[in-house]
Symmetry: C2
Subunit: 389 residues, 2 copies
């Protein structure tokens, strides 16, 4: 427990947040609850964090000077997105600014090839993969027999929102890939995709949230529901939690670490990837958990005691994405209809323009009974539609 | 259900909030969640709503022009405090601005003498009282035998935060009273003080929250805990809910109406007073309820379907007030210690200066077991202290 926690609740202390997107916006609810002074750096002046922070600074997160100069003006620095200039962070750390997660952890995670190598180096189970400096090398590898179709292509850097990941089934598919550094990962015919959020405070207190399950649409192969708790065997849940804790310890993050995993047909657990910040798989916690992931991240990076991670009720999250075929000024069709259903809370991210599959918000459904929550979640999904005017 | 609910979730719609205090700040969390454009009128530029609203306008809520000009720029107007220029509101209503709660309801409530007369006119049970145009008339009434000591003096207008209410036990106590319009109310030796939050939407949907109980300190005679659900007989809870519903219907509010009541030694229910806005007795709902009172108020005034009012878990609220003997820059002593307790969430209002008994925040304690929540609440109260540097 921190000895000077009172400092955070005074006007002298400043928390810097790198990134002003939707995750930052949800972090800001919690900083306001605790009356913590915040300063946000973000490249877009239309960003959701523009309001609700105490100070908003325009600047690129990839620009050394922008990040460095911003960081010098705060006491603790955190992130809401991984794509940050890490050299600037490192220099800030050297000069005594508290950076959480630490730059070292971000270096491991930011590049997906580095992240995968880290798993194999540390005996963390993960899907087999090959690393390529250029996408053009992939075709050679296939011809040499060094790589088999199908596989999952992942850009090594700067993927977001489903971009940067593609299933490659034929040589033809290769033509559409960007040219840069990438990995080719063995496709895992998994039983479930799972995630565990691990939280680690500055002084080393560690807690985990219950295992959540991503339920996929049987045909579209897209995540439809994030379900807490996962409807899986206890032994598997325990294994997943242990592996998430091992990853957390090896990476040495501070704050939230969301660990995404596959449960194979043989009930093996393979780590897919991690995010060192509040994560989509933890959004359910706002309505369902004793302590939501955003408050928990703040507690962790300010070295306050961590909160209880249990759920009050079962929680299911549905992402609100732009419907296919609609581009333009957004309309949330039937939003009143879903709000009439018990235990349903929409979160609207405030993007004015929709386009196919753009993340526009999410909806949480909570109920004492997980099966009832699942039924309502399906009704929500069938009712609301994100279209354009 | 509204037919044009989509309008609220677009950039054209503007919600005006009169008052920029702590209640407004908590309302703003919800408007941000739904991405509703907000505009706040408030006299103090240091107010908690200064950030998190889309537009902040400096101006007095009692000034006709300030309120009128502000109101003309929004589509729906609501309040976070009752002390508003009602003539301006009335004119805005006449000119087509949607004002919720309606001015008529506010006229009934704003003046406590009018509010009491309203109860007797509408057969709502309430403590006996006398009304005085000037406090100086009280002494005559006592001498004439028209009023007996002790009684509860209440200022007819503009009381806040426990000011404007005093127990008068002797002729000497009269000297300390302000001169203006007031009421003298019979002291009720109540068993419990209870409150019920009733919510009414524009189109008339009505829901109630569970009855809550204010537990008093046995010696200090101050509310120590707001407890949901109240630990009272079901029949009494039902009676309290029915009376709250009757008051709600007669007053014709839209949005939250918090109805405070006494349960007498004979299990009679007497209405004490009401507040037509989110209320201290409903703060527990942020952590404990399926739909918190702030989201519910927004749903009601935008004519969206009302949310489920049940609790996920038992909730207890403790007010954080400045400790006696401390004035100056605030320090929250032992805040980390209470955050280490299960299910404890502090809400810090962000006032930089503390003084004896000033409301500086509140703490919510939730648990599946109400008795455990009560034990933790006591530990919280014994641990945290709001002092000065």
């Amino acid at each position: 427990m921190t000895n000077n926690s009172n400092n955070y609740f005074s006007s002298d202390f400043k928390l810097g947040i790198l990134g002003g997107g939707q995750l930052g916006k949800m972090l800001l609810y919690e900083t306001r609850k605790f009356d913590i002074h915040t300063k946000v750096l973000e490249a877009s002046k239309e960003a959701p964090c523009r309001i609700a922070c105490d100070e908003f600074v325009l600047g690129s997160l990839m620009d050394f000077d922008a990040v460095y100069n911003f960081g010098k003006q705060v006491d603790v620095l955190t992130i809401e997105i991984e794509n940050i200039n890490l050299d600037a962070l490192e220099k800030l750390e050297e000069e005594g600014i508290k950076v959480y997660p630490p730059t070292k952890a971000l270096r491991t995670i930011q590049n997906k090839a580095t992240q995968k190598l880290f798993y194999t180096d540390n005996n963390v189970p993960t899907a087999d993969f090959s690393r390529f400096a250029y996408a053009s090398e992939i075709e050679d590898a296939i011809e040499n027999g060094g790589l088999e179709l199908p596989f999952v292509w992942k850009a090594a850097q700067f993927g977001y929102d489903g971009q940067g990941v593609k299933v490659v089934r034929s040589i033809d598919d290769l033509k559409e890939l960007p040219v840069g550094e990438c990995i080719a990962e063995k496709m895992i015919p998994f039983k479930h995709e799972l995630a565990v959020i691990v939280v680690r405070s500055v002084s080393g207190e560690v807690v985990t949230y219950p295992v959540v399950e991503m339920e996929f649409h049987p045909e579209a192969n897209q995540v439809e529901y994030v379900i807490c708790p996962a409807r899986i065997d206890k032994i598997v849940a325990q294994k997943a939690t242990e592996i998430a804790l091992k990853v957390s310890e090896e990476i040495g993050h501070v704050g939230i670490l969301a660990v995404e995993m596959f449960q194979t047909q043989e009930d093996e657990i393979l780590v897919n990837e991690v995010a060192p910040r509040p994560h989509n798989s933890g959004h359910y916690s706002i309505e369902a958990s004793y302590t939501n992931q955003f408050e928990q991240h703040i507690r962790a990076i300010l070295d306050l005691p961590l909160g209880k991670t249990d759920s009050k009720v079962a929680g299911i999250m549905v992402n609100l994405v732009g419907a296919d075929g609609y581009t333009g000024e957004v309309v949330y069709e039937n939003i009143a209809e879903i709000m009439a259903m018990d235990g349903v809370t929409p979160h609207i991210y405030g993007k004015k323009q929709t386009r196919p599959f753009r993340k526009m918000g999410h909806v949480t459904i909570v109920d004492e009974d997980i099966d009832e929550a699942r039924r309502v979640a399906q009704k929500v999904k069938e009712t609301i539609k994100v279209i354009s005017k």
